[in-house]
């Protein structure tokens, strides 16, 4: 498997970012972003200059065109979207037609940005406040927005929502986002890697989008692993560690859709096999260090969905 780093939430001076396009691309290249999504608020105007510059100066960077649709009722990330839609058409009481409009306009993957960010009057319009909608029109949830404190951005709640929906059978990827408006301060934050089979076809940007649509993403502070469900069991396979591992306990927790939660100690090297009960239709896999608290969360792996059993949508 190939792990492709994907930074999926970024801004430039084409909206309220402080970095010009050339500064953002230079930073992304220097920090080995591999894939960079352009998600300015309500505009696609940075796309052309960014693509032109990347082609000339940064061939190592793959760009994903997109927009952060910034509404009064929350922010929606539309990856793959190359033209802005009319956001005045959004009815928060019945958002499905608007969400469909995003897909019809070319969005490949539609996600909810920082859905539990603090709301009025602290951050106007940032907290998701849409009424019931069809989860099939949403492809991913930003479970870790690393632009500020977790409590302000509601990251724990976003993760809990994603987990709850996956365990109900909804097909949703988990991603992180820097929500990059200025140069970030160096710190150990969650990063998204898209898991793609070796030799898969398509550009890197296309493979990233396909991975999101297949829920093949891992949100991590370092360790990388992939998860596969086959013949009634889950196999977790770890990628070789880039740095020596600290001498600490690593705990892999498998939360099943039948309500059972199983914890394994792992050395982050030996593949782990877990047998699923017949009734299980989906499972979430998370990795912790020392203890299973949010503060010690190291990685959220790709969820697994089982062929047998009735997946709920």
């Amino acid at each position: 498997m190939k792990y492709i780093r994907a930074e999926l939430h970024n801004h430039t001076t084409h909206s309220d970012g402080q970095l010009r396009v050339e500064q953002l691309l230079a930073y992304a290249a220097e920090n080995k972003f591999e894939t960079l999504a352009l998600t300015d608020h309500n505009t696609v105007s940075a796309h052309r200059p960014a693509f032109d510059l990347a082609q000339k100066e940064y061939p190592q960077l793959s760009l994903v065109p997109g927009v952060e649709i910034t509404t009064f009722y929350g922010h929606i990330l539309a990856l793959g979207l190359r033209r802005m839609v009319d956001l005045t058409r959004l009815d928060p009481a019945a958002p499905d037609p608007f969400l469909q409009t995003l897909h019809d306009a070319g969005a490949v993957a539609v996600g909810l940005a920082h859905p539990f960010c603090l709301g009025h009057p602290i951050s106007e319009g940032c907290r998701m406040n849409l009424q019931e909608y069809n989860w099939e029109l949403i492809n991913y949830i930003e479970v870790a927005n690393t632009s500020g404190p977790d409590a302000v951005l509601g990251n724990a709640q976003a993760l809990a929502l994603w987990e709850s929906l996956v365990l109900q059978g909804h097909r949703l990827a988990a991603v992180s986002g820097k929500d990059l408006h200025q140069l970030p301060t160096p710190q150990n934050v969650f990063v998204t890697y898209c898991i793609s089979p070796e030799g898969a076809e398509g550009t890197r940007a296309e493979r990233v989008l396909q991975a999101i649509l297949a829920q093949q993403t891992i949100v991590t502070k370092g360790p990388l692993f992939c998860t596969q469900a086959e013949d009634g069991s889950i196999t977790v396979t770890f990628a070789p560690a880039a740095l020596p591992l600290p001498k600490t306990a690593f705990l892999l927790v498998i939360q099943q859709s039948d309500g059972e939660s199983i914890t394994y100690e792992t050395d982050l090297c030996t593949p782990l096999k877990h047998t699923l009960a017949e009734s299980v239709t989906s499972a979430v896999i998370k990795l912790y260090q020392n203890s299973c608290t949010y503060e010690n969360l190291l990685a959220v792996g790709a969820p697994v969905y089982c062929e047998k059993g009735e997946a709920q949508r």
């Binding site: 105007s45 033209r83 009319d86 602290i122 106007e124």
Partner: protein, 153 residues
Amino acid sequence: MQAQTFYTVKGVLPKGFVGHIAYSTVLPKALTGVQLKFVFDKKNLMESQEDFRDECEQTLAAQAPQLVPTKELLDHFCASAKTEINVSVFFDDYCAGSAHRNSAEKEFFITPTAASEGFTPCQPCGVARVVLHVLNVLNDETAYTLTMEEYKQ
């Protein structure tokens, strides 16, 4: 030759208004481009902060009870609070872009070959719809002015 002014419109918004305000006009043919200027006043919190602080405390209690509403934190929220009005432009159904930035004055142009950041170069034509996305109004009697004119280099 002086640039043709298509319109100057003014408005006054009450505290708490949230919504879109659109101005639609038919553009003359063969334009070199359009230039727009949008300004509003009272961007920062000018009225009593007590009510605002109380609301922040309520929001914290409901949405992030683990965050202690210290004076420093509430001071930070007060200092960060802003009236926010962003501007999008459409020509017929085509969205030419948006001026979405933290500024009480937004000035930009759109021509077939160049445009301000936030906007894509295109030929202004047909029905020009300028939409004010009023996300937050902190103060009563917040006044704005929007001017659209022909772009002249």
